[in-house]
Amino acid sequence: MAATTTIRIQEQDFSVADNYEQLRRSAAYGAVVTFTGLVRELVDAQLSGMFLEHYPGMTEKALQGISNEARQRWQLGPIQIIHRIGHLQLNDQIVFVGVAAKHRADAFAASMFLMDFLKTRAPFWKKEVTKEASYWVEAKESDQHAVQRWNDQK
């Protein structure tokens, strides 16, 4: 059976426990790595929350493409990517990436790879909301460098 890739973009919250249970269903895989991203406080501003927007259709395609690339680099089982959109509060879950693989090295590497590419190539835009104002977050160079690292290793 071909390993499945699940991609969901949704406003509602998700359960890491439920996602993990889905990833560990097959005895073919000995490793599951999961990553969860949360809305974090800002150092220099009173963040009260954020708003996330995506490009319906294109975002899903981009995540599917990144997952396919990961499958070419490593031996992977099921992949799950869940990304929330809309209004989020501090400490809310934003993103979940889970990867099952026969061995842990592939699962660790692939989940790191998926997150690095998700941060740069998937069309999501973030608006930070503070008590005084709200503003769109600009693209960060550090995330571009994170992706470059994978290209250098090719």
Partner: protein, 82 residues
Amino acid sequence: MMIRVLFFASLKEQLGTPNVEMETTANRVDELLQQLIEQNPRWKPHLQQGTLLCAVNQQLCDTEHPLAVGDEVAFFPPVPGG
């Protein structure tokens, strides 16, 4: 031909609309941009931001990309990631 043009994030707010359906003679994305600016002069500074990205039928491309009937064209700022 009819082309559907989508805008996202800060650009959507600057232009004040998420999308336009337009009848156009443009053969390429850059010509379409030019026509959008001619029809909406107020949009000029926003559509001429050097960092703007474009996609045709949900694939990133450059502004020399050709256009065909029924294409979905999108303009948006660089992606800060999720």
